[in-house]
Amino acid sequence: MTYHRPEFRHPELPTNDLGYTRKEYEGAISTLCAGCGHDSISAAIIQACFELSLEPHKVAKISGIGCSSKTPTYFLQNSHGFNSVHGRMPSVATGANLANRELTYIGVSGDGDSASIGMGQFAHVVRRNLNMLYLVENNGCYGLTKGQDSATSDIGSMGKKGTPNPFEPIDLCTLALELGATFVARSFSGDKEQLVPLIKAAISHSGFALIDVVSPCVTFNNTATSTKSYEFVREHIEATGKTDFIPVRQEIMADYKPGFSQEVTLHDGSVIHLYKNDENLDLHDRLSAIQAIHKCKEKGEILTGLLYLDPDCQDLHEIIGSVEKPLRDLNESALCPGSKSLEAINESLR
């Protein structure tokens, strides 16, 4: 286990548009098990935020409880973070976003946190189209309580406990699609090449962006009989295609087969380019996404990549018509109607 990170950094580390190196996006040293998929996801978040040139302090990291929910400590140390209560990250993120719509909100959750105890909050934050990245670190089991099956565990999948899971799994992606999510993707913690552009695209999307990341638990669910093990996922992964995220005003330089490519421009002007493996998948069609997921599932495969995107959606603030300025910055003059109005109210009560 690493418990000390050397201060030394290569003097010629590359910098981003803000002049920051990757170091400015790192966090405390992880206390998760060596080889945990979650650490790769933290690294992907660091990479994505660095490449997007986000100001770290303009990001808020919010989580629930569980191994996954510990990870916000391990990235973006100059961001405020909130490790809240089990299954309730969505409500805390909703409140935080209502208070200040100008920050970037990264919510990290797990399969227990989102698909069991927090199922209600997950469903409703999707419906409200809260502008946030909602990243599920999905390992099919409860790590911190030592390996119980979670609600995303496949039927028959067996972890270290040695009992096959007898219950139907919950697929957070198809569920989110059903509930009206405006950005849905699935990925694998071991596929950084796919995950980093997806995180960048999700952060740039102005609405609710779900990335369900299969992230093996090396200690309790990395057995030969588990469908959430490194080996199984690597062997059964199927991708919707290769995703490119092109920031604002950058020229697109890529070759693609006609009919097998789809381009989506986001609100901020950045472009997502998907080099599709399946010409039947249409990023703007929920049904095609749900079908594609089910088709792969029937074959025993896990479909990853960008699945659905609606760039022209209205986020919660737009739906409820709140002012552009962060609500938390409003002062007495905007908030307090004053004594004259009160006197009129008194009069109406006589």
């Binding site: 200040n100 209600g120 609500l327």
Partner: protein, 616 residues
């Protein structure tokens, strides 16, 4: 028969069926009395039902200014056959009984100590109105018209009120006034008007208002600067957020963009509602939620997190009976222990106890300052009686020089100028309250990770026992500081020096004040203390120390305020005599008087509840 004779001092109760529009008609009666310059107090006793079950509306008229419930009924207007057998029993000897004589009254209901007035309400409305819904609605208005003749209400005042109430729906004015006239004429022609009870114009209202506590709380939130409201519908708290929205739409629209200087989210449950409040407050907005006991139960975990993470959190608890389907539309003061110690682990929370709409407004606004100053949950303990009934109240006041106290929050410049390392949980002022930063303040300074109690003074994760204990002890220092910020009790000394005292709070206040006057006239003198906040400050403890025997009057079964006093103060518990009224109806002055006088006789207040007649 000795008929009750009185001017401007009586209790009238209307017995109706839920969903027939009776409450608005009955409110006409109350408001007209108010506009004739006489203090009035209407109380709606309603079922958990939309249509069909019995409902009662009681109006206390009193020109001495007593606006709590008195107990007993002088005039009963009984238009619901379902409850009539009980309604007739509830009339005071010498009282009056008004009923619909379209069908003859069951002979078993007759009492020879009550005067009966039959009005053919159904017949009249059938004759005058074709539409069945109108027949039902105007039946209520007809008896209000009849009453105006019977108790000598100035008919013009009634007419003007109808004009005011139907502003914007002018079509309804003429038929309503017609219905009033029908009743008025019938009473003039058939009864000897006025009857023994009547109303005479007074000049006692002055600047007072008639207002529901929930509406006042909502305005408190508007004036206190709340910009985020998250909630889940639950009786009797729903109208807090509905009123907040009503006023926000009028008073909180940005003139430039036409957009809202507020956000209201109806959450999926109370857990989510409080989570949103915690998230918004953590991020620097003033946020609140409103709920009732069942909601507070669900919010427990978050309240504990907010206590340990030290996030300002404002919660309005409009108390009722419970749980589940247990009399959810009846009033109680039974969430004190739930709220004071909400959540697992060692937690305690600041509580405020308003007694009038004016205080709901003031405490509603102040709760945001308090929460920001103390960085902890603040719970305003309203109840159904105060929240959903109109109360005779002093007008709301606001000082335009008020600046919000956002507490200890570091700005970018302050962080920049800070020579030492920033510690979120570092008690630099020795008052237990540390400095917060909002997310997004400074690129490299002031960011911290918020979590439960596994952290050191610099918000760094640790499971060290020393750090845990250190933090818990600092939270106690903060608790002591809170005693200087919560509102002081209101102490009313007796006219004569006495060793006996009485403690009450919230909606018991008006009835207790009347009871104290009655007791004084009987030669029983009590010093009174009204609790307005928790933690209790030194004045409360001193009051208890000064007296040998103190009655603690509460509207719950278990003496929850008494438990808090015993638990939190260094006092002798045997001094505190519980007087507990918990039938779900607002406590009456007569109940308090009886409880104390029967206690006086036997020096034992335990049998009180057994002897108490349960009436609505």
């Amino acid at each position: 028969m000795q008929q009750i004779k009185s001017v401007n001092d009586f209790v009238i109760r209307f017995a109706n069926t839920n969903g027939t529009g009776s409450a608005s008609a009955n409110n006409l009666f109350a408001k007209t009395v108010f506009r004739m310059g006489i203090p009035v107090s209407p109380k709606n006793v309603f079922p958990s039902n939309i249509q069909g079950l019995p409902t009662w509306y009681e109006v206390r008229v009193n020109d001495k200014g007593y606006v709590g419930r008195r107990g007993g009924v002088d005039i009963m207007v009984a238009v619901n056959p379902q409850s009539m057998a009980q309604d007739i029993k509830d009339v005071e000897p010498g009282g009056y009984f008004v009923y619909d004589k379209t069908k003859p009254l069951d002979k078993r209901f007759y009492r020879d100590d009550v005067t009966f007035f039959g009005i053919p309400l159904t017949d009249i409305s059938r004759r005058e109105y074709a539409d069945p819904r109108q027949r039902q609605l105007f039946k209520n208005v007809i008896y209000i018209g009849a009453l105006s003749a019977m108790v000598d209400i100035e008919f013009d005042v009634l007419k003007n009120l109808v004009h005011d109430q139907f502003k914007g729906k002018e079509k309804l004015i003429a038929p309503n006034i017609h219905a009033l006239e029908l009743g008025y004429q019938y009473a003039q022609e058939h009864f000897d008007c006025p009857i023994g009870i009547r109303i005479e114009r007074r000049d006692m209202v002055d600047k007072h208002i008639l207002m529901e506590g929930n509406e006042a709380l909502a305005l408190g939130a508007i004036y206190g600067g709340a910009s985020v409201a998250a909630w889940y519908p639950i009786t009797p708290s729903t109208s807090v957020v509905e009123q907040f929205e009503k006023y926000a739409k009028r008073l909180r629209i940005d003139p430039g963009s036409g957009k809202c200087n507020y956000a209201i989210v109806q959450a999926e449950d109370e857990l989510s509602a409080i989570g949103m409040v915690v998230g918004a407050s953590w991020n620097g907005a003033r946020a609140f939620t409103a709920t009732s006991g069942p909601g507070v139960s669900l919010m427990n975990e978050f309240l504990g997190l907010a206590y340990f993470a030290e996030v300002p959190t404002v919660l309005f608890d409009v108390q009722r009976t419970g749980p589940s389907t247990g009399m959810p539309t009846r009033s109680q003061q039974s969430d004190l222990l739930l709220a004071a110690y909400a959540s697992h682990g060692d937690t305690k929370h600041v509580l405020l106890f308003p007694a009038t709409p004016k205080e709901c407004f003031e405490m509603g606004a102040a709760s945001f300052d308090l929460a920001d100053r103390l960085q902890t949950p603040v719970i305003v303990m309203n109840d159904l009686d105060l929240g959903m009934n109109e109360h005779f109240s002093e007008p709301l006041e606001w000082d335009d020089s008020t600046c919000y106290d956002r507490g200890k929050v570091l700005s970018k410049a302050e962080l920049e100028a800070m020579p030492d390392r920033y510690g979120r949980y570092l008690d630099v002022d020795d008052d237990g309250i540390c400095y917060r930063t909002y997310p997004g303040t400074h690129p490299t300074k002031g960011a911290f990770f918020t979590r439960g109690s596994s952290r050191d003074r610099y918000a760094k994760y640790t499971e060290s026992s020393e750090e845990y204990v250190d933090n818990m002890e600092r939270l106690l220092v903060k608790w002591e500081t809170a005693k200087n910020y919560v509102p002081e009790p209101e102490i009313v000394p007796a006219e004569r020096s006495t060793c006996d005292g009485i403690i009450y709070f919230g909606t018991t206040t008006a009835s207790a004040e009347e009871a104290l006057d009655i007791l004084r006239d009987q030669g029983v003198h009590l010093d009174a203390l009204r609790v307005r906040g928790f933690p209790f400050n030194a004045d409360v403890e001193a009051f208890i120390a000064k007296h040998d025997r103190i009655y603690v009057v509460e509207q719950n079964r278990d003496g929850q305020l008494r438990t808090l006093l015993v638990n939190e103060c260094e006092i002798n518990p045997s001094k505190l005599k519980p007087l507990l009224c918990y039938d779900g109806l607002p406590i009456t002055a007569r109940w308090i008087v009886n409880a104390i006088t029967s206690g006086e006789k036997g020096d034992n207040v335990v049998p009180l509840t057994k002897n108490k007649k349960v009436t609505v």
